[in-house]
Every structure is written in structure tokens, then in C-alpha cells.
């Protein structure tokens, strides 16, 4: 089962994760009414009623919140965007990719942060794309409805400015902001899927490569390299290091964060 999941997603679940895997398989067996593992596995392999998608969704981790690791957002508005603007040769939007975006907190955080902290936000078109392999998470992202826990790091003023109270203890992102972020499904170890998203100026790819093995990490790194415009930046999670994964990127140390950069044209190939 772990091998099947690895082939489909690049995520690695070793013996140490047996309990985690078993629990999710049992959940899916119950949901599909499978009486035995063999019958469920046959159901899964045949992708009956889109089971592969449900299965993959069950294994993704969607625990996140607004303004998580916001030192990288500071770096975005303090340094990265200015450098990208200087390097841009052609007119066109600044493109920012949040991948994986889970239930949307990160791409919406980027949008809010830019509106609040980047003085040039009115002068440029900014395209923010959130992508994830989990279609259930993407549906939640598109709905833009969040609970108290997801908003815990936002000030009351920001919450009031960009969210409207919804049912129960939930808040819904204002429509204008919700429509300024687009969402798409992507598996970052599938080159055909990542290439279709084009090139970005900045990519936020946080806390996903840690779930991959060496082989999948290499593939993902090369895909992300292609998705960066020359001179573009990639931000990883604070425990991750691209230098340990791939020599394709250069390390850049800014005041707020360490990020990785695709060499500008003429550098590294």
C-alpha cells in the first residue's frame, strides 16, 4: 500500500508510519464499504468512483494557519519582489505560487500581506496561484471559510478587514480577495502537471519535501526549478534545505530569511 502511495504521490511512509497508514486505510475501507483489504485494494487499483483521489486526500496533512512563518512574507516584501522587478525584462504580472497550498491559508496570507505591507501593490498586477494534490483541500480553499484556529495569528483589525463572519465560529474571506487567488490541482513530482502552471517569480513550497524520499525530492526540485523564472526565488519550510536536495539553486541570505534562487540566465547553465 505504501508503495502504491509512493508511486502516485512521491510521499514515503515507512514501517514507522504503519499506524498512520493503517488508520487511513481503515477509514477508506469503511467509507467504500469494503469488507476486506483485498477488496479495497482492488477497488483502489481500479480507481472505482475516483477512489485514488479520495485515498491520496486521506494521506495529506492540511494543518496550517494564516501568516505561518511570516518572516518569509517579510522577506518577500522587503527584498524578493524588489529584486524580481529589477530583473524583469518583459511586462507582465508578478507570479507567486503557493504549492502545496493545502486549504488556502498560505496563498490568501500572501495576498493579505501584500495588500498590507507592499507599498507598490497598486502599481503591479500580481497573480497568486495556490496548488495542491488534495482536491478536498482545494475545495475548502476555494470556499474561503476558516475557523478561529486558522486565524489565530491575524490581528482583529486584519480579520475584520478581509473576512466576514459566517456560520458558527467561522469567517469567510471577502469575495474580492477570494477571487484574486486561483487554485489548481498539481502533483509536484509530475513534470507534465507542474510545467502546465508556467513560470513564477516566487514559489512558496514549504514543508512538503520532507515527506519525499531522495528520488522524489530530486524530481520535485527539478520541476520547481523549471517553474521558476530565471532569477526567481523559492521559499522552503524553516527545517528544510534545498542545498541538501539539489545543486541547481543558489542560497540567498536576506535579513528576514534564507531562500533559494534559480540562477539568472547565464548562470549555472
Amino acid at each position: 500500500m505504501s508503495e502504491f502511495l509512493y508511486r502516485r504521490t512521491g510521499m514515503v511512509f515507512t514501517e514507522a508510519k504503519r499506524f498512520y497508514v493503517e488508520r487511513r486505510v481503515v477509514e477508506r475501507m469503511t467509507a467504500t464499504g469494503s469488507g476486506s483489504f483485498a477488496s479495497y485494494f482492488a477497488w483502489l487499483r481500479n480507481d472505482a468512483q475516483g477512489e485514488i483521489e479520495h485515498f491520496v486526500n486521506a494521506f495529506t496533512v492540511n494543518e496550517t494557519y494564516f501568516y505561518r512563518e511570516d518572516y518569509q512574507l517579510s522577506c518577500l516584501t522587503s527584498d524578493l519582489l524588489a529584486e524580481r522587478l529589477r530583473a524583469k525584462r518583459r511586462p507582465g504580472p508578478i507570479r507567486i505560487w503557493s504549492v502545496p497550498c493545502s486549504t488556502g491559508e498560505e496563498p490568501y496570507s500572501i495576498a493579505i500581506w501584500l495588500l498590507e505591507n507592499w507599498p507598490l501593490v497598486d502599481e503591479y498586477e500580481i497573480e497568486i496561484v495556490g496548488s495542491d494534490i488534495d482536491t478536498g483541500a482545494l475545495e475548502q480553499a476555494r470556499s474561503g471559510v476558516y475557523g478561529k484556529r486558522a486565524l489565530m495569528r491575524l490581528s482583529p483589525a486584519i480579520t475584520e478587514k478581509y473576512f466576514a463572519p459566517a456560520q458558527g465560529e467561522t469567517w469567510k474571506i471577502l469575495d474580492d480577495l477570494r477571487q484574486s487567488v486561483s487554485f489548481s490541482r498539481v502533483n509536484i513530482v509530475e513534470s507534465a502537471e507542474t510545467r502546465a502552471h508556467g513560470q513564477f517569480d516566487v514559489i512558496f513550497c514549504r514543508n512538503v519535501l520532507i515527506y519525499f524520499d531522495d528520488a522524489s525530492r530530486r524530481i520535485a526540485a527539478e520541476n520547481l526549478y523549471e517553474n521558476l523564472a530565471p532569477g526567481g526565488f523559492i521559499c522552503l519550510g524553516h527545517t528544510e534545505s534545498m542545498s541538501r536536495i539539489s545543486p541547481l539553486f543558489e542560497v540567498r541570505r536576506f535579513a528576514d530569511a534564507i531562500v533559494y534562487q534559480r540562477p539568472a540566465e547565464g548562470g549555472n547553465g
Binding site: 502552471h197 545543486p247 549555472n268
Partner: protein, 203 residues
Amino acid sequence: MPLIRKTADPLATAPPPLAEVISAFANGTSEERWVAARSAHDIPGSAKILGEALTRERNARVREAMFTSLARIATAESVALILPFLRSDEAYLRTGALDALRAMKGAVSPYLQRLLEDGDADVRLLACELVRNVPDDEAERLLCGLLEAEREPNVCASAVEVLAEIGGADALPVLARCEQRFRESPFLVFSIKVAADRIRSQP
């Protein structure tokens, strides 16, 4: 609000024919060679082409993609094509080969014993890293076998470093004998002590 909305349109792409890859490797720009290298793993018969092109390629980015493609193929043939690069005079190629082999897991396992017995100490040293790919019991057996006979302290240090992470009680007498043989080498004696302490502290 000034932010704009656009929708991505995912499209599937088929791998190019092998002849196109060969042509790109021979005459293409670095970008064309990169694209060819990245797509080659999906094309039957591409391993040999990748291996040959890798010997000529000077661009670090394209080499990286070639190593990744060979790693994705992950057959005995692709392992055999990468192994000679462990002996390269260029550090980048040695490291690239090591990283690619590390990503091949099962495919490289049958070669480990031979690599650990290689006449080149640098190859034996790199092979110690590759041993991390196999299950802990097998890794311990391979590294203990190496430590019993190894004469190069740097190779021993590499094996000890891995054993510190994956070794069990069976490794302790082997480490003690290694320490005796290299008692004139303070660095190795210290490394062995750290490894042995770590192994003993495990439940």
C-alpha cells in the same frame, strides 16, 4: 483590489522519441539538453544514451538532470552507467553520482559489497554512504565486514558515522577491534567512542 486572477490549464505531455533526445544531446543548446535529459527516463533504451551523453556534458545543470533521469530508470544498466563517475576526478561528478545512486535504493543494493571492496579508497568511502539505502541489519553486516579489514582511517570514519546511526549491539565488538587497530588515530578513536556510546544508549 489590484491582485488579479488567472487559471492554470494543466496539459499532459508525451515523451519525445529517442532520436530527438540523441539529437538534442549532440547538437542542442543547454536548455534543449536539459529538456531532453528530463524527459529521457520515460523512453525505452535511453539509459545508454544518457550515460554516454553524461561523459561529454559540461553543463552542471544538464548533468544533474541526466543523473536524475538515470536514477529514475533505476535498473542494473543505469546503475552500471553511473558507477564509473564515483571515480571521477571532478568532485561534482562524484557527488552527483553518489546522490543519484542514493536515490536508486534497491537497484544499487547488489553492487554494495563489491563497492565496499573496491581498490580505490575514495570509492569505498562513498559506498559507506550508499549503505544507508539498505535495511539496517544488512547495512550493519556490510559495514562491520568492511571495518574488520579496512586500512584507510577515512573509510573507517565514514563507516563508523553510518554505524552510529543504524548500528546495533553486534557492531560494538567490531568497533572495539577497529579502535585497537587505529589507536594512533585520535580522530577515529573519538568517532568510534561517540558511535559506541550512541549504540549503547539505544533501548
